[in-house]
């Protein structure tokens, strides 16, 4: 177990190194990154100062060392627009993103899991086909479009819900639906296939042979087992939600990380853009590590693998 975790940890570190290298090289790809990394309209002296601080006059590998060491210190540079460290800015927005992601997740699970179960126990029949159409729509109608159409209907036409900003639950409903929409479809598909697999298992057959009513076979024996992969996916998706929320947050002016990214792009505030990519990648690497470890604790077969 210890060895397994250590090996996973090693992989994650390697991923982080490669991640930083990727980001670093892409920024240098255009030749001179000075224009990206200095404020628009900076004086020649300012440019020279930035050049020196980032070590752009040094050889490439030394530049990378400077880059990595500042990352290790938690220094993602300062935002041109806000004039504050990107790191702080990121964490000040994170709670909003998390709120939205959790609400969207709750919504996607409430919609996705029951419909997935229904589709799996009625496989090939009406509810299964209805579920397929629902999933297809979820995967095909982009979230920002869902958001815009909802604003049109609920804010402009019915005037029930506020179209932007934060506040009470009413502010959260539409962005959470728009963001959770795609994931509801994904969770439905996962629940369905996971349930189908479990329903075909020998232990579900044995549960039927014991004389359990079908409702109990599904609720007790099948559902519990089918839930594990769905919840794993949900855990990974929670992190994904924070990172793909950029369009939804832009549509609803929700002040999370996605909105920050949009501002970064609009104001040509490159350190913000760079910081969010790095944090997004690091978060996903960390989640993958966590999922592997949690799986190893749950599944004895992985745990025993020495």
């Amino acid at each position: 177990m210890k060895q397994y975790i250590l090996r996973r940890l090693g992989y994650s570190l390697l991923s982080l190194v490669l991640l930083s290298l990727t980001i670093f090289l892409f920024i240098r790809l255009t030749g001179d990154p000075t224009t990206l990394l200095t404020e628009p309209g900076a004086s020649a002296a300012d440019i020279e100062a930035v050049r020196h601080r980032l070590g752009l006059d040094l050889p490439l590998w030394k530049q990378y060392a400077v880059f990595v060491f500042s990352l290790l210190r938690g220094d993602l540079g300062d935002s041109f627009y806000y004039q504050t460290p990107v790191f702080e800015l990121y964490f000040s927005r994170l709670p909003n993103s998390l709120t939205l992601a959790i609400a969207a997740m709750g919504f996607s699970l409430v919609l996705g899991i029951p419909s997935g179960i229904l589709a799996s126990v009625r496989v090939g029949r009406f509810w299964d086909n209805a579920g397929k159409i629902f999933a297809l729509l979820g995967l095909s109608v982009p979230s920002f479009l869902v958001g815009l159409l909802m604003i049109l209907f609920f804010s402009v036409y019915l005037q029930w819900l506020p179209s932007s900003g934060t506040g009470g639950i009413s502010h959260l409903l539409m962005p959470a639906f728009a963001l959770g929409w795609y994931f509801a479809a994904a969770h439905m598909r996962m629940t369905r296939s996971s349930m189908l697999e479990v329903l075909g298992s020998e232990y579900v057959k044995l549960a039927r042979l014991k004389g359990l009513p079908e409702s109990m076979v599904i609720a007790k024996h099948a559902f519990k087992n089918a839930l594990i992969p769905v919840l794993t996916l949900a855990g990974i998706n929670l992190i994904q939600m924070i990172n793909v929320a950029v369009v939804v947050e832009t549509v609803f002016a929700w002040p999370g990380i996605g909105r920050l990214l949009y501002e970064g792009v609009s104001f040509r505030d490159f350190p913000v853009v760079q910081g969010i990519v790095i944090m997004g990648g690091a978060m996903i690497v960390a989640t993958n590590l966590l999922v592997d470890i949690v799986y190893a604790t749950i599944d004895p077969r992985i745990r025993m693998e020495k």
């Binding site: 496989v123 298992s201 020998e202 232990y203 044995l206 039927r208 004389g211 359990l212 024996h221 087992n225």
Partner: protein
Amino acid sequence: MAPLIELRNVSTHYVSQRGTRVVRAVEDVSFSLNAGQTLGIVGESGSGKSTLALTLLRVLPTAARIAGGQILLEGDDLVPKDEEEMRRIRGKKIAMILQDPMASLNPLFTIGDQVGEPIRLHEGASRKEAWRRAIDLLKAVRIPAAETRVRQYPHEMSGGMRQRIVGAIGISCEPRLLIADEPTTSLDLTIQAQYLKLLRDLQEEHKLGLIFITHNLGIVAKMCDLLVVMYAGRVVESGPVSRVFNTPYHPYTEALLQSIPRMSDTRERLTAIDGQPPDMSALPLGCAFAARCPKVFDRCRKEAPPEFSPEEGRIARCWLPIQAAGEAQP
């Protein structure tokens, strides 16, 4: 007195979603078994043995349906019963042990919960009472340290132990009939022998009817009173084990018997049956075994033989005994 279980012309068919293709997985099967007796059902994989077992309990995949016949449990037909009535029979009067002990236990529940589940379900026992009975059952199937084992999860058990636990679940409500589907295929030989002995002891103790589904005729010879040989969904031969072993009427049975290894055997190689089992969705017009039969003649290819009883208690589905009988009594 009515036999414990009697099947009369039972057929189970798989129908494709559009209803265009029908696979006659079990066709026109009849046999009967008394309490305390053991019946062996033998056949190649795909011959319909497992579907037949699931038919008895009416736990069939959605595509399958019972197309006809009667299943009499102590004289009471199960086919017209509704799901709720069937549910009260499953695990209570008829229990079944599935092939794969590794996969038959739910990884998320304790052994005690799973062994005690039918008791709580059918006898309304409390959780505590069910656990106490579960401990007794584990002892009955000779699992050491039963008191600690009930608290553990399936992955903490060896394969042999899980097989016994599945057996314990089978007998938990003292059923009248126990069906065991290839119960020993995944076990090594010593454990296999122990397990078979255990089943026999349980049978004697509880006066169980036992149905053994297997492709191992050696086990049939050791364990069973009656034998049913299936081929392509039909019973091709049945009767008391010793008589069938001595004088098989069907060339398929004969071939199967020749393929059992014997200690006294001096032959270097076993006789294997040439050819493949037929495609179940497109059975030939005549006898399904015709293509592989060493004694095939014209009539076999044109016309499927009916069930025929060449002597008291024996049945064969072959033209050979029918013709022989015809010659003896013109």
